[in-house]
Amino acid sequence: MIRDALLVAGKDLRLELRSRVALNQIVPFALLVLVLFAFALDPDRGVLDAATPGLYWVAVLFSGLLALQRSFSVEAADGNRDQLRLSGLDPAGIYLGKALAVAAQLLVLEVLLGVGVAVLYTTDVAGWPLLLATVVVATAGIAAAGTLYGVVSAGLRVRETLLPLLLLPVLAPILIGSTRAFEAALGGTPSDGWPWVGLMSVFAVLYVVAGVLGFGPLLEEA
Protein backbone atom coordinates (compact mmCIF):
# COMPACT_ATOMS: atom_id res chain seq x y z
CA MET A 1 0.00 0.00 0.00
CA ILE A 2 2.73 2.43 0.98
CA ARG A 3 4.70 1.54 -2.12
CA ASP A 4 1.64 2.13 -4.31
CA ALA A 5 1.03 5.43 -2.56
CA LEU A 6 4.55 6.62 -3.23
CA LEU A 7 4.25 5.50 -6.82
CA VAL A 8 1.05 7.47 -7.40
CA ALA A 9 2.36 10.50 -5.52
CA GLY A 10 5.56 10.39 -7.55
CA LYS A 11 3.56 10.21 -10.75
CA ASP A 12 1.42 13.22 -9.81
CA LEU A 13 4.37 15.28 -8.70
CA ARG A 14 6.37 14.43 -11.80
CA LEU A 15 3.38 15.45 -13.88
CA GLU A 16 3.30 18.71 -11.98
CA LEU A 17 7.03 19.28 -12.39
CA ARG A 18 6.71 18.87 -16.13
CA SER A 19 3.52 20.84 -16.70
CA ARG A 20 4.12 23.48 -13.99
CA VAL A 21 0.45 24.37 -13.84
CA ALA A 22 0.54 24.82 -10.07
CA LEU A 23 3.67 26.92 -10.23
CA ASN A 24 2.61 29.06 -13.15
CA GLN A 25 -1.06 29.53 -12.33
CA ILE A 26 -2.04 28.47 -8.83
CA VAL A 27 0.76 30.21 -6.95
CA PRO A 28 0.24 33.52 -8.77
CA PHE A 29 -3.46 33.18 -8.06
CA ALA A 30 -2.77 32.74 -4.35
CA LEU A 31 -0.54 35.81 -4.30
CA LEU A 32 -3.19 37.70 -6.21
CA VAL A 33 -5.70 36.83 -3.50
CA LEU A 34 -3.34 38.31 -0.90
CA VAL A 35 -3.07 41.55 -2.84
CA LEU A 36 -6.85 41.64 -3.30
CA PHE A 37 -7.32 41.34 0.45
CA ALA A 38 -5.00 44.29 0.93
CA PHE A 39 -7.15 46.28 -1.49
CA ALA A 40 -10.37 45.24 0.23
CA LEU A 41 -9.14 45.92 3.77
CA ASP A 42 -7.33 49.08 4.60
CA PRO A 43 -3.70 48.16 5.40
CA ASP A 44 -3.05 51.40 7.29
CA ARG A 45 -5.61 51.03 10.01
CA GLY A 46 -4.60 47.68 11.42
CA VAL A 47 -7.54 45.79 9.93
CA LEU A 48 -5.22 43.79 7.72
CA ASP A 49 -2.90 43.11 10.63
CA ALA A 50 -5.64 41.68 12.81
CA ALA A 51 -7.07 39.60 10.00
CA THR A 52 -3.80 38.19 8.64
CA PRO A 53 -4.16 34.58 9.89
CA GLY A 54 -7.69 34.28 8.55
CA LEU A 55 -6.77 35.81 5.21
CA TYR A 56 -3.78 33.51 4.90
CA TRP A 57 -5.89 30.40 5.42
CA VAL A 58 -8.71 31.57 3.19
CA ALA A 59 -6.13 32.11 0.47
CA VAL A 60 -4.75 28.61 1.12
CA LEU A 61 -8.23 27.07 0.93
CA PHE A 62 -9.13 28.73 -2.34
CA SER A 63 -5.87 27.96 -4.05
CA GLY A 64 -5.98 24.48 -2.54
CA LEU A 65 -9.33 23.96 -4.23
CA LEU A 66 -7.71 24.77 -7.54
CA ALA A 67 -4.91 22.32 -6.88
CA LEU A 68 -7.42 19.61 -6.00
CA GLN A 69 -9.45 20.15 -9.12
CA ARG A 70 -6.28 20.02 -11.12
CA SER A 71 -5.33 16.76 -9.41
CA PHE A 72 -8.57 15.13 -10.57
CA SER A 73 -8.91 16.70 -13.98
CA VAL A 74 -5.57 15.08 -14.74
CA GLU A 75 -7.20 11.71 -14.12
CA ALA A 76 -10.32 12.50 -16.10
CA ALA A 77 -8.57 12.67 -19.45
CA ASP A 78 -7.98 9.66 -21.70
CA GLY A 79 -9.81 7.22 -19.45
CA ASN A 80 -7.10 7.42 -16.85
CA ARG A 81 -9.55 6.33 -14.19
CA ASP A 82 -9.99 2.97 -15.84
CA GLN A 83 -6.27 2.61 -16.30
CA LEU A 84 -5.71 3.32 -12.63
CA ARG A 85 -8.16 0.56 -11.81
CA LEU A 86 -6.56 -1.83 -14.25
CA SER A 87 -3.09 -1.07 -12.93
CA GLY A 88 -3.70 -3.37 -9.98
CA LEU A 89 -2.66 -0.73 -7.50
CA ASP A 90 -4.30 -0.84 -4.10
CA PRO A 91 -7.16 1.72 -4.06
CA ALA A 92 -6.12 2.80 -0.58
CA GLY A 93 -2.62 3.34 -1.97
CA ILE A 94 -3.97 5.41 -4.83
CA TYR A 95 -5.91 7.53 -2.37
CA LEU A 96 -2.92 8.06 -0.11
CA GLY A 97 -0.72 8.81 -3.08
CA LYS A 98 -3.02 11.45 -4.47
CA ALA A 99 -3.47 12.97 -1.02
CA LEU A 100 0.32 13.02 -0.54
CA ALA A 101 0.85 14.76 -3.85
CA VAL A 102 -1.80 17.34 -3.02
CA ALA A 103 -0.27 17.83 0.42
CA ALA A 104 3.18 18.36 -1.08
CA GLN A 105 1.85 20.99 -3.47
CA LEU A 106 -0.09 22.64 -0.66
CA LEU A 107 3.04 22.79 1.50
CA VAL A 108 4.99 24.55 -1.22
CA LEU A 109 2.08 26.90 -1.72
CA GLU A 110 1.85 27.60 2.00
CA VAL A 111 5.53 28.39 2.29
CA LEU A 112 5.37 30.80 -0.62
CA LEU A 113 2.20 32.38 0.72
CA GLY A 114 3.78 32.59 4.14
CA VAL A 115 6.73 34.49 2.73
CA GLY A 116 4.31 36.70 0.85
CA VAL A 117 2.32 37.45 3.98
CA ALA A 118 5.42 38.08 6.05
CA VAL A 119 6.75 40.53 3.49
CA LEU A 120 3.57 42.23 2.35
CA TYR A 121 1.74 42.40 5.66
CA THR A 122 4.85 42.65 7.91
CA THR A 123 3.99 39.94 10.40
CA ASP A 124 6.07 38.85 13.40
CA VAL A 125 6.12 35.28 14.60
CA ALA A 126 6.21 34.31 18.27
CA GLY A 127 5.75 30.53 18.41
CA TRP A 128 7.53 28.64 15.66
CA PRO A 129 6.73 25.07 16.84
CA LEU A 130 3.02 25.82 16.94
CA LEU A 131 3.18 27.47 13.54
CA LEU A 132 4.85 24.46 11.96
CA ALA A 133 2.55 21.95 13.67
CA THR A 134 -0.48 23.90 12.50
CA VAL A 135 0.74 23.98 8.93
CA VAL A 136 1.41 20.24 8.94
CA VAL A 137 -1.91 19.08 10.41
CA ALA A 138 -4.00 21.61 8.50
CA THR A 139 -2.35 20.54 5.25
CA ALA A 140 -2.93 16.90 6.07
CA GLY A 141 -6.58 17.63 6.81
CA ILE A 142 -7.17 19.64 3.65
CA ALA A 143 -5.42 17.05 1.48
CA ALA A 144 -7.18 14.07 3.08
CA ALA A 145 -10.69 15.52 2.96
CA GLY A 146 -10.11 17.23 -0.36
CA THR A 147 -8.95 14.05 -2.07
CA LEU A 148 -11.94 12.11 -0.80
CA TYR A 149 -14.48 14.73 -1.88
CA GLY A 150 -12.49 15.28 -5.04
CA VAL A 151 -13.10 11.71 -6.12
CA VAL A 152 -16.77 11.99 -5.12
CA SER A 153 -17.17 14.82 -7.57
CA ALA A 154 -14.69 13.55 -10.16
CA GLY A 155 -15.73 12.55 -13.62
CA LEU A 156 -18.95 14.54 -13.57
CA ARG A 157 -19.89 17.46 -15.72
CA VAL A 158 -20.71 19.56 -12.66
CA ARG A 159 -17.49 18.87 -10.75
CA GLU A 160 -16.17 22.44 -10.78
CA THR A 161 -19.20 23.69 -8.92
CA LEU A 162 -19.87 20.62 -6.82
CA LEU A 163 -16.47 20.33 -5.16
CA PRO A 164 -16.51 23.73 -3.42
CA LEU A 165 -20.06 23.16 -2.20
CA LEU A 166 -19.12 19.80 -0.72
CA LEU A 167 -15.68 20.63 0.54
CA LEU A 168 -15.81 24.12 2.02
CA PRO A 169 -18.40 23.40 4.75
CA VAL A 170 -16.48 20.25 5.63
CA LEU A 171 -13.24 22.20 5.90
CA ALA A 172 -14.76 24.78 8.25
CA PRO A 173 -13.12 23.17 11.32
CA ILE A 174 -9.73 23.37 9.58
CA LEU A 175 -10.23 27.02 8.74
CA ILE A 176 -11.35 27.90 12.25
CA GLY A 177 -8.66 25.79 13.89
CA SER A 178 -5.74 26.88 11.76
CA THR A 179 -6.73 30.53 12.01
CA ARG A 180 -7.00 30.44 15.80
CA ALA A 181 -3.76 28.50 16.10
CA PHE A 182 -2.00 31.00 13.86
CA GLU A 183 -3.35 33.87 15.89
CA ALA A 184 -1.94 32.22 18.98
CA ALA A 185 1.40 31.61 17.29
CA LEU A 186 1.72 35.08 15.84
CA GLY A 187 0.62 37.38 18.60
CA GLY A 188 -1.08 35.55 21.43
CA THR A 189 0.01 32.86 23.82
CA PRO A 190 1.10 29.76 21.92
CA SER A 191 -0.42 27.37 24.48
CA ASP A 192 -3.90 28.48 23.35
CA GLY A 193 -3.25 27.03 19.94
CA TRP A 194 -2.43 23.43 20.80
CA PRO A 195 -6.04 22.21 21.38
CA TRP A 196 -6.76 23.33 17.84
CA VAL A 197 -3.85 21.31 16.54
CA GLY A 198 -5.37 18.34 18.35
CA LEU A 199 -8.78 18.91 16.81
CA MET A 200 -7.31 19.21 13.34
CA SER A 201 -5.31 16.01 13.87
CA VAL A 202 -8.54 14.18 14.73
CA PHE A 203 -10.06 15.62 11.56
CA ALA A 204 -7.12 14.53 9.43
CA VAL A 205 -7.08 11.00 10.88
CA LEU A 206 -10.83 10.66 10.39
CA TYR A 207 -10.54 11.59 6.74
CA VAL A 208 -7.51 9.45 6.05
CA VAL A 209 -9.40 6.45 7.47
CA ALA A 210 -12.56 7.30 5.53
CA GLY A 211 -10.55 7.76 2.37
CA VAL A 212 -8.62 4.52 2.73
CA LEU A 213 -11.86 2.60 3.29
CA GLY A 214 -14.07 4.47 0.85
CA PHE A 215 -11.81 4.93 -2.12
CA GLY A 216 -12.13 1.36 -3.32
CA PRO A 217 -15.93 1.41 -3.81
CA LEU A 218 -15.77 4.90 -5.32
CA LEU A 219 -13.15 3.92 -7.85
CA GLU A 220 -14.98 0.76 -8.87
CA GLU A 221 -17.90 2.49 -10.50
CA ALA A 222 -18.03 5.03 -13.29
Partner: protein, 267 residues
Protein backbone atom coordinates in the same frame (compact mmCIF):
# COMPACT_ATOMS: atom_id res chain seq x y z
CA UNK B 1 -53.76 27.73 9.19
CA UNK B 2 -53.48 24.21 10.47
CA UNK B 3 -56.71 23.10 8.88
CA UNK B 4 -55.29 23.82 5.48
CA UNK B 5 -52.80 21.01 5.83
CA UNK B 6 -55.77 18.67 5.54
CA UNK B 7 -55.69 19.29 1.83
CA UNK B 8 -52.43 17.41 1.78
CA UNK B 9 -53.98 14.06 2.50
CA UNK B 10 -57.70 14.13 1.91
CA UNK B 11 -59.58 13.70 -1.33
CA UNK B 12 -57.62 11.81 -3.92
CA UNK B 13 -56.65 8.66 -2.12
CA UNK B 14 -60.15 8.07 -0.82
CA UNK B 15 -61.64 8.31 -4.28
CA UNK B 16 -58.96 6.14 -5.80
CA UNK B 17 -59.90 3.33 -3.49
CA UNK B 18 -58.33 -0.03 -2.99
CA UNK B 19 -57.19 -1.39 -6.32
CA UNK B 20 -53.94 0.46 -7.08
CA UNK B 21 -52.70 3.50 -5.23
CA UNK B 22 -52.61 6.55 -7.43
CA UNK B 23 -50.69 8.66 -4.98
CA UNK B 24 -48.06 8.31 -2.32
CA UNK B 25 -50.81 7.97 0.27
CA UNK B 26 -52.09 4.79 1.84
CA UNK B 27 -54.41 3.88 4.66
CA UNK B 28 -51.61 4.07 7.18
CA UNK B 29 -50.47 7.49 6.08
CA UNK B 30 -54.01 8.81 6.08
CA UNK B 31 -54.40 7.83 9.71
CA UNK B 32 -50.97 9.25 10.46
CA UNK B 33 -51.86 12.44 8.62
CA UNK B 34 -55.06 12.81 10.60
CA UNK B 35 -53.19 12.34 13.87
CA UNK B 36 -50.64 14.91 12.72
CA UNK B 37 -53.36 17.44 12.00
CA UNK B 38 -55.01 16.90 15.36
CA UNK B 39 -51.65 17.21 17.12
CA UNK B 40 -50.75 20.37 15.19
CA UNK B 41 -54.12 21.95 16.00
CA UNK B 42 -53.68 21.08 19.66
CA UNK B 43 -50.15 22.45 19.56
CA UNK B 44 -51.36 25.71 18.07
CA UNK B 45 -54.04 25.93 20.73
CA UNK B 46 -51.69 25.27 23.61
CA UNK B 47 -48.70 27.16 22.30
CA UNK B 48 -50.50 30.27 21.13
CA UNK B 49 -53.46 30.51 23.47
CA UNK B 50 -53.40 28.43 26.62
CA UNK B 51 -49.79 28.51 27.75
CA UNK B 52 -48.62 31.55 29.70
CA UNK B 53 -45.88 33.86 28.57
CA UNK B 54 -42.39 33.26 29.84
CA UNK B 55 -40.96 35.44 32.57
CA UNK B 56 -37.74 36.11 30.61
CA UNK B 57 -38.72 35.82 26.99
CA UNK B 58 -42.30 37.02 27.09
CA UNK B 59 -44.47 35.89 24.21
CA UNK B 60 -41.45 35.00 22.11
CA UNK B 61 -41.37 31.69 23.95
CA UNK B 62 -44.31 30.62 21.79
CA UNK B 63 -41.90 30.30 18.89
CA UNK B 64 -39.84 27.85 20.92
CA UNK B 65 -42.60 25.24 20.82
CA UNK B 66 -41.88 24.68 17.16
CA UNK B 67 -38.23 25.69 17.22
CA UNK B 68 -36.94 23.13 19.70
CA UNK B 69 -38.74 20.09 18.24
CA UNK B 70 -37.71 21.05 14.70
CA UNK B 71 -34.09 21.26 15.76
CA UNK B 72 -34.28 17.85 17.43
CA UNK B 73 -35.89 16.30 14.37
CA UNK B 74 -33.41 17.93 12.05
CA UNK B 75 -30.66 16.11 13.94
CA UNK B 76 -32.73 12.91 13.92
CA UNK B 77 -33.10 13.16 10.17
CA UNK B 78 -29.40 13.74 9.85
CA UNK B 79 -28.71 10.59 11.86
CA UNK B 80 -31.17 8.63 9.73
CA UNK B 81 -29.41 9.83 6.60
CA UNK B 82 -26.10 8.54 7.89
CA UNK B 83 -27.66 5.26 9.01
CA UNK B 84 -29.27 4.83 5.60
CA UNK B 85 -25.98 5.57 3.87
CA UNK B 86 -24.13 3.00 5.95
CA UNK B 87 -26.80 0.39 5.28
CA UNK B 88 -26.73 1.18 1.57
CA UNK B 89 -22.97 0.73 1.40
CA UNK B 90 -23.24 -2.47 3.39
CA UNK B 91 -26.33 -4.11 1.91
CA UNK B 92 -26.61 -2.32 -1.44
CA UNK B 93 -30.34 -1.95 -0.92
CA UNK B 94 -32.08 0.88 -2.69
CA UNK B 95 -34.58 1.03 0.13
CA UNK B 96 -31.97 2.29 2.57
CA UNK B 97 -30.52 4.77 0.13
CA UNK B 98 -33.94 6.27 -0.46
CA UNK B 99 -34.57 6.41 3.28
CA UNK B 100 -31.33 8.35 3.60
CA UNK B 101 -32.24 10.66 0.74
CA UNK B 102 -35.77 11.34 1.98
CA UNK B 103 -34.66 11.98 5.54
CA UNK B 104 -31.82 14.23 4.42
CA UNK B 105 -34.23 16.37 2.43
CA UNK B 106 -36.68 16.63 5.30
CA UNK B 107 -33.83 17.25 7.73
CA UNK B 108 -32.72 20.14 5.51
CA UNK B 109 -36.26 21.51 5.56
CA UNK B 110 -36.42 21.25 9.35
CA UNK B 111 -32.98 22.80 9.72
CA UNK B 112 -34.19 25.75 7.67
CA UNK B 113 -37.28 25.95 9.88
CA UNK B 114 -35.05 25.86 12.95
CA UNK B 115 -32.87 28.67 11.64
CA UNK B 116 -35.83 30.78 10.63
CA UNK B 117 -37.72 30.39 13.89
CA UNK B 118 -34.49 30.96 15.75
CA UNK B 119 -33.95 34.25 13.97
CA UNK B 120 -37.51 35.37 14.54
CA UNK B 121 -37.11 34.46 18.19
CA UNK B 122 -33.76 36.19 18.46
CA UNK B 123 -34.96 39.49 17.09
CA UNK B 124 -37.44 40.32 19.90
CA UNK B 125 -35.36 38.58 22.57
CA UNK B 126 -31.81 39.69 21.77
CA UNK B 127 -32.63 42.54 19.41
CA UNK B 128 -30.81 40.93 16.47
CA UNK B 129 -31.67 38.25 13.94
CA UNK B 130 -28.30 36.62 14.03
CA UNK B 131 -25.39 36.31 16.40
CA UNK B 132 -22.29 34.27 15.80
CA UNK B 133 -23.26 31.95 18.54
CA UNK B 134 -21.99 28.37 18.59
CA UNK B 135 -25.41 26.81 18.11
CA UNK B 136 -26.56 29.13 15.38
CA UNK B 137 -23.36 28.79 13.43
CA UNK B 138 -23.21 25.03 13.68
CA UNK B 139 -26.86 24.74 12.64
CA UNK B 140 -26.12 26.85 9.57
CA UNK B 141 -23.19 24.56 8.79
CA UNK B 142 -25.48 21.55 9.21
CA UNK B 143 -27.79 22.99 6.58
CA UNK B 144 -24.87 23.46 4.19
CA UNK B 145 -23.64 19.91 4.75
CA UNK B 146 -27.12 18.54 4.09
CA UNK B 147 -27.40 20.60 0.92
CA UNK B 148 -24.09 19.11 -0.22
CA UNK B 149 -25.42 15.60 0.30
CA UNK B 150 -28.62 16.41 -1.56
CA UNK B 151 -26.65 17.94 -4.43
CA UNK B 152 -24.68 14.72 -4.83
CA UNK B 153 -27.80 12.59 -4.73
CA UNK B 154 -29.43 14.74 -7.41
CA UNK B 155 -26.49 14.57 -9.79
CA UNK B 156 -27.35 13.98 -13.40
CA UNK B 157 -25.78 10.54 -13.47
CA UNK B 158 -26.65 6.89 -13.29
CA UNK B 159 -28.43 5.76 -10.15
CA UNK B 160 -25.67 3.48 -8.88
CA UNK B 161 -23.09 6.25 -9.32
CA UNK B 162 -25.18 8.85 -7.55
CA UNK B 163 -26.22 6.53 -4.78
CA UNK B 164 -22.72 5.33 -4.03
CA UNK B 165 -21.18 8.78 -4.00
CA UNK B 166 -24.03 10.23 -1.99
CA UNK B 167 -23.67 7.40 0.51
CA UNK B 168 -20.03 8.23 1.08
CA UNK B 169 -20.99 11.83 1.70
CA UNK B 170 -23.90 10.71 3.88
CA UNK B 171 -21.67 8.38 5.84
CA UNK B 172 -19.49 11.35 6.78
CA UNK B 173 -22.47 13.55 7.60
CA UNK B 174 -22.69 12.79 11.31
CA UNK B 175 -18.90 12.81 11.94
CA UNK B 176 -18.77 16.14 10.12
CA UNK B 177 -21.61 17.58 12.14
CA UNK B 178 -19.90 16.50 15.35
CA UNK B 179 -16.50 17.89 14.43
CA UNK B 180 -17.94 21.13 13.05
CA UNK B 181 -20.01 21.59 16.20
CA UNK B 182 -16.96 20.97 18.35
CA UNK B 183 -14.83 23.44 16.47
CA UNK B 184 -17.50 26.11 16.44
CA UNK B 185 -18.10 25.61 20.13
CA UNK B 186 -14.43 26.17 20.91
CA UNK B 187 -14.25 29.01 18.48
CA UNK B 188 -16.99 30.93 20.27
CA UNK B 189 -16.27 29.99 23.86
CA UNK B 190 -12.55 30.62 23.66
CA UNK B 191 -13.21 34.03 22.26
CA UNK B 192 -16.12 35.46 24.14
CA UNK B 193 -18.23 34.67 27.13
CA UNK B 194 -20.50 31.62 26.80
CA UNK B 195 -23.64 31.81 24.79
CA UNK B 196 -26.71 33.87 25.25
CA UNK B 197 -28.68 30.68 25.55
CA UNK B 198 -27.49 30.14 29.09
CA UNK B 199 -30.38 32.08 30.52
CA UNK B 200 -32.72 31.17 27.70
CA UNK B 201 -35.07 28.26 27.72
CA UNK B 202 -33.24 26.11 30.21
CA UNK B 203 -33.99 28.25 33.22
CA UNK B 204 -37.41 27.12 34.33
CA UNK B 205 -40.13 25.42 32.43
CA UNK B 206 -43.11 24.08 34.24
CA UNK B 207 -46.69 23.07 33.91
CA UNK B 208 -48.44 24.21 30.78
CA UNK B 209 -45.27 25.38 29.12
CA UNK B 210 -43.62 22.03 29.59
CA UNK B 211 -46.75 20.31 28.31
CA UNK B 212 -46.82 22.57 25.25
CA UNK B 213 -43.23 21.74 24.49
CA UNK B 214 -44.00 18.05 24.89
CA UNK B 215 -46.93 18.45 22.53
CA UNK B 216 -44.62 20.21 20.12
CA UNK B 217 -42.34 17.19 20.05
CA UNK B 218 -45.28 14.90 19.35
CA UNK B 219 -46.85 17.08 16.66
CA UNK B 220 -43.63 17.88 14.83
CA UNK B 221 -42.51 14.27 15.22
CA UNK B 222 -45.71 13.00 13.62
CA UNK B 223 -45.35 15.55 10.85
CA UNK B 224 -41.79 14.40 10.29
CA UNK B 225 -42.90 10.77 10.02
CA UNK B 226 -45.74 11.64 7.66
CA UNK B 227 -43.48 13.70 5.42
CA UNK B 228 -40.81 11.02 5.51
CA UNK B 229 -43.15 8.28 4.33
CA UNK B 230 -44.48 10.40 1.50
CA UNK B 231 -41.09 11.67 0.46
CA UNK B 232 -39.70 8.16 0.51
CA UNK B 233 -42.48 6.88 -1.74
CA UNK B 234 -42.02 9.82 -4.06
CA UNK B 235 -38.29 9.09 -4.29
CA UNK B 236 -39.13 5.46 -5.01
CA UNK B 237 -41.46 6.51 -7.83
CA UNK B 238 -38.81 8.86 -9.22
CA UNK B 239 -36.23 6.10 -9.35
CA UNK B 240 -38.72 3.67 -10.87
CA UNK B 241 -39.49 6.15 -13.61
CA UNK B 242 -35.85 6.84 -14.25
CA UNK B 243 -35.02 3.14 -14.49
CA UNK B 244 -38.14 2.58 -16.58
CA UNK B 245 -37.29 5.52 -18.80
CA UNK B 246 -33.92 4.03 -19.63
CA UNK B 247 -35.47 0.60 -20.25
CA UNK B 248 -38.05 2.12 -22.56
CA UNK B 249 -35.45 4.16 -24.38
CA UNK B 250 -33.26 1.10 -24.88
CA UNK B 251 -36.21 -0.93 -26.08
CA UNK B 252 -37.19 1.80 -28.52
CA UNK B 253 -33.66 2.09 -29.78
CA UNK B 254 -33.45 -1.66 -30.28
CA UNK B 255 -36.76 -1.72 -32.09
CA UNK B 256 -35.60 1.15 -34.25
CA UNK B 257 -32.29 -0.53 -35.03
CA UNK B 258 -34.04 -3.84 -35.64
CA UNK B 259 -36.52 -2.17 -37.98
CA UNK B 260 -33.94 -0.35 -40.04
CA UNK B 261 -31.29 -3.01 -40.35
CA UNK B 262 -33.29 -5.48 -42.50
CA UNK B 263 -34.57 -2.65 -44.66
CA UNK B 264 -31.05 -1.52 -45.36
CA UNK B 265 -29.87 -5.02 -45.98
CA UNK B 266 -32.53 -5.59 -48.67
CA UNK B 267 -31.06 -3.64 -51.59
Amino acid sequence: MTTQIARGNEGGPRVAGEAAPTSTGSRGTRILGLLTLVALALLALFALVLSPEDSNQGDAVRIMYIHVPSATLAYTGCGLATLGSIMYLWRKSQWWDLVAYASAEIAALFTAVTLLTGMLWGRPTWGVFWVWDARLTSTAMLLLLLLGYLAVHRLPAEYSVRAKRASIVGLLLVPNVIIVRQSVQWWRTLHQKPTLFSNGLGSKIEGLMLFSLFLGFIAIGLLFAWLLVHRFRLAWLEEQIEAEGIDVAIAERRAEAGGIAPGEAAP
